[in-house]
Amino acid sequence: MNAPLVWLHEEALRMTHPVFKVVPERAKAIYVWDDGYFRQANYSLKRLIFIYETLCELPVDIIHGNTLDVIRELAPPALYIPATNNPLIVNIIASIEATVPVKVVEDEDFVVIKKPSEFDRFFQYWNKAKKTAFLHNGGINA
């Protein structure tokens, strides 16, 4: 039986991301080098080089192909994905969810904010954020 899988995307390229704390031990991590994604994002060569250099230091397989096709072929019983608000990646996640069970894992918080939706200007946010912004781990127990 296939093992659970972590799909790392370009905004979560580290092994200390919380996704690795919730994933079963036997899970592998992959990165899909997706030409279609990069072309849609219209990245210049220097951006691609930066990402590739980062991937070379990580214990992940870099698989060349269309993300959805690769995930379908691997058919993991569960796919763990670091959370993102990048619309391109959000759309891919939505497509994957129709194929395999997905668990999206948030990154560690920078600060603790109650009622987070009550601001749209920085200083409204800062008045709440500054209470924990100067604390180790934002005052959150690791």
Partner: protein, 262 residues
């Protein structure tokens, strides 16, 4: 299923490999390299106390950590924790923590309002409608040949290295949206193509802030301001930067003729 190679003799071989994978990708390499090792080296060298008083200057003690933060190589919390070890009192690094907080703020705003990635959050406060702004990136801007010396210098740095100082980003954004009347979306997309730290939330919402679609007024600048922060780093002579050589009052009247001043 093709698993790509990860071992290379040197950086040159890696770059050749990536070029072969993406022959369509524009431009060349940056001197800035990816990877956790490089990130750790940069993190070890930050000076969050000096950052407070020098960060606005082109040669200030900025960290250049943003490409590593954007790609999640470093977390914001990790950077903050490290900065706290470099001061005796947290208040000494308030500006540095605030800069990290700006990124967290933009992330939260985009998560709450995903449509703001590409749609105007609010009307322009410039006296113009969105239809008054151009939909294409002019060639002189793409090629760094606008004839405004400091702007061209910033463009060349952006396209060659994938990194420019935050102040330079604001100048370029303001120049494009307000001096050239180009839609902020065009500029934001162009930045995302080049910036190694190009992040939809921080980048696009900052463009909206400059444009005034996510702030109370448009952000503008003049040559005096560029000279104050980038003197000797770029050409700031009035002769080669004529369009920027004016007082804020004059620029306000020229750029926003439909806006009544109090």
């Amino acid at each position: 299923m093709e698993v790509l190679q990860k071992q290379f003799d040197d950086r040159e071989s890696l770059i050749t490999h990536v070029k072969a994978l993406a022959p369509w990708a524009e431009g060349e390499r940056s001197y800035i390299q990816g990877g956790r090792q490089k990130a750790d080296m940069k993190l070890a060298n930050i000076d969050p106390i000096a950052y407070a008083c020098t960060r606005n200057h082109g040669d200030g003690k900025i960290t250049r950590l943003s490409p590593y933060i954007h790609h999640g190589i470093l977390s914001l919390s990790e950077v903050r924790n490290h900065a706290l070890t470099k001061c005796s009192e947290p208040v000494q690094i308030t500006k540095f923590i605030q800069e990290l907080a700006w990124r967290d703020f933009w992330q939260r705003i985009l998560t709450t309002h995903p449509q703001w990635a590409w749609e105007d959050a609010e009307p322009y406060k410039t006296g113009f409608t969105p239809q008054d702004y151009a939909d294409v990136l002019p060639e002189d801007i793409a090629n760094g040949k606008t004839g405004v010396a400091c702007i061209d210098a910033f463009i060349h740095e952006l396209t060659a290295t994938g990194y420019i100082h935050n102040h330079a980003r604001m100048y370029l954004a303001s120049y494009m949206v307000h001096f050239r009347r180009i839609k902020w979306q065009i500029g934001a997309s162009w930045f995302l193509q080049h910036l190694l730290d190009g992040d939809i939330a921080s980048n696009n919402l900052s463009w909206q802030w400059v444009a005034s679609t996510l702030s109370h007024k448009p952000y503008i600048f003049n040559l005096e301001n560029v000279d104050k922060y980038f003197n000797k780093l770029v050409d700031t002579s009035p002769l080669t930067n004529q369009i920027l050589h004016a007082s804020y009052e004059t620029l306000q009247a020229i750029l926003f003729p439909n806006v009544r001043t109090a």
